[in-house]
Symmetry: C2
Subunit: 331 residues, 2 copies
């Protein structure tokens, strides 16, 4: 069978590297030196250590400026079957010239950067609003696509324990002191281990059923309170929780917006707004559920791949308690 | 079997009245006096002749201000299964409070005002951009919905004949002197008779498969040149055509935009822009096809209802030539 040729844009980022790992694991993509996996890199980054590491693992690194000449982009994407973008918010708009070049190059499937929770297309989360704009442009181009969302990443849902056993992977910049629970904790919340993001992607991009569709890749959707009970059971520690009302989160969102409007556009303020909006969507509105995903037209991996063995939260959390977990956004 | 209760908003308009006709024809809705069909009317219009006529046909007319109190709207929509909106562009935004009230009232399906061609969600046609905003708001509300598009209405595709036999239903305000064909005339274009719009709607709103889906209701999709050949065959007249290039239509759109930006916002300028954008979408981009509809996630009535007998363009055009057709936007 012919191998599927894949190009990643954002291969060295947090999402991209899990996808690369899974593609290299899979016989459908890994041809051991034939370089069916391409990483498209900005020329200024193409020689850094992360891309050097990818090269040593058999990935073809192609330096090309996404914001530069369309011809160079089209050339880089020629003979590529699937383009996967995992660029971060600062580059969301650069996906539009990328999609135009993909259309010209005859790419058979374009996967824009989503890989987050199920959120309505507009009016709930600023990041989703931008993602929807990109998807609408893809549709205007009549370019085949697949959107993959995955729920809340396990590694983003780590409680602070009295014993301090989780502190080594809860960097202060990303996690608050307290264990905040949005709403009354009764919201159902789809979740996933980051390594499974890549393994689901490897299946989804080979599957004709997922063409021009949104997919929710997750088979674990506990209520938040149930998840805390599970954490307590596994750790043997009582976990203090601070419940946040809808009004409190609305206040945080409002406050962040005012800061940004007043010119305070630093990274932490932006992340604060983003996190508050995720809490509101998942915990208050209860958007991040299989049921709401189906309402929005998503296919569910629980239907598509009933045999898929997703890493359990129990195994993930035990790994954390054993001191063996990798912190998110680290090397 | 319990009857499905339906409320129309815009029942006396061009689209609404065809839907009312079809609902009254159908046993699923017409309970002969039990008033399962409701027309929601602005209080200022509720006593006009058109609504009086609806009352005499067994339709319950409920006067309520869409832009007024939410409680009154919720009350009007309580016990309604399906809300169908056929409001015109000036009232597109009023569908948002209507949808909110429908959500509160427990409406089981909301059909927003679309009923036109298949067009990408954003960036091709100003009307579609607005319709997409409404649909996104419906999705944010988690309100069950169905979008129904139908292609180009037969009555909007009437050639001028040298004999003048079509002039009686080609009002100068809506039809140009010349027979313009966008592009090279090789675009496939989904089409429908206005009476079938209502008959398709009556089926679609009872069908669980169409819930939270877009549907293309049309079983006739000729190339524009084929359609002109058919018109010539039926009429026995040679039909002069003026082909419009992409560049020419882009120029018309640009010109209309400049007029509107300069404050010339009269009806004809607006309609001119709208028509140029339809020509561009259908004739140049070739969006109004079953294939592009499927790409966008539409279900096709050709798959859903293979038994549906759509009125043929031949029968419609013969009716026109026989002097028996009704002009669009007339009583």
């Amino acid at each position: 069978m012919a191998k599927t040729s894949v190009a990643l844009v954002g291969a060295t980022g947090e999402t991209g590297h899990f996808i690369i790992d899974a593609l290299l694991e899979s016989d459908a993509f890994n041809t051991h030196g034939l370089q069916e996996i391409t990483a498209i890199a900005q020329p200024s980054s193409a020689t850094n250590q992360k891309y050097t590491n990818l090269r040593s693992r058999g990935v073809k690194v192609v330096p090309v400026d996404f914001t530069g000449s369309e011809d160079a982009l089209v050339e880089a994407l020629t003979n590529i079957d699937v383009v996967i973008s995992t660029v971060s918010v600062a580059s969301f708009k650069d996906q539009i010239p990328l999609a135009k070049a993909a259309k010209k190059a005859g790419v058979k499937r374009f996967v824009p950067s989503e890989f987050a929770m199920v959120i309505p297309p507009k009016g709930v989360h600023d990041l989703q609003d931008m993602k929807t704009d990109v998807l609408n442009e893809i549709k205007r181009l009549h370019l085949p696509w697949t959107v993959i969302n995955v729920g809340w990443w396990y590694a983003g849902f780590l409680p602070r324990l009295a014993s301090g056993r989780t502190d080594y992977i809860r960097p202060a910049a990303l996690f608050p002191e307290q264990n905040f629970v949005p709403g009354d904790g009764e919201a159902v919340c789809s979740m996933i281990d980051s390594r499974d993001v890549g393994r689901y992607v490897a299946r989804i991009i080979q599957d004709p059923r997922t063409l021009n569709k949104q997919v929710l890749a997750s088979n674990f959707a506990p209520k938040l309170n149930e998840l805390y009970s599970l954490m307590e059971e596994i750790s043997g520690e009582k976990i203090e929780r601070t419940y946040l009302s809808a009004k409190a989160i609305e206040g945080q969102i409002q406050q962040s917006r005012e800061k940004i409007a007043a010119g305070q556009t630093d990274y932490m303020t932006q992340v604060g707004l983003m996190m508050s909006q995720y809490q509101y969507s998942a915990g208050i509105r209860q958007d991040n559920t299989p049921e709401y995903a189906e309402y929005l037209g998503y296919l569910l991996t629980t239907d598509l791949y009933p045999d898929f063995k997703q890493m359990t939260y129990r195994d993930f959390f035990q790994e954390v308690l054993d001191g063996k977990a990798r912190a998110a956004y680290s090397e």
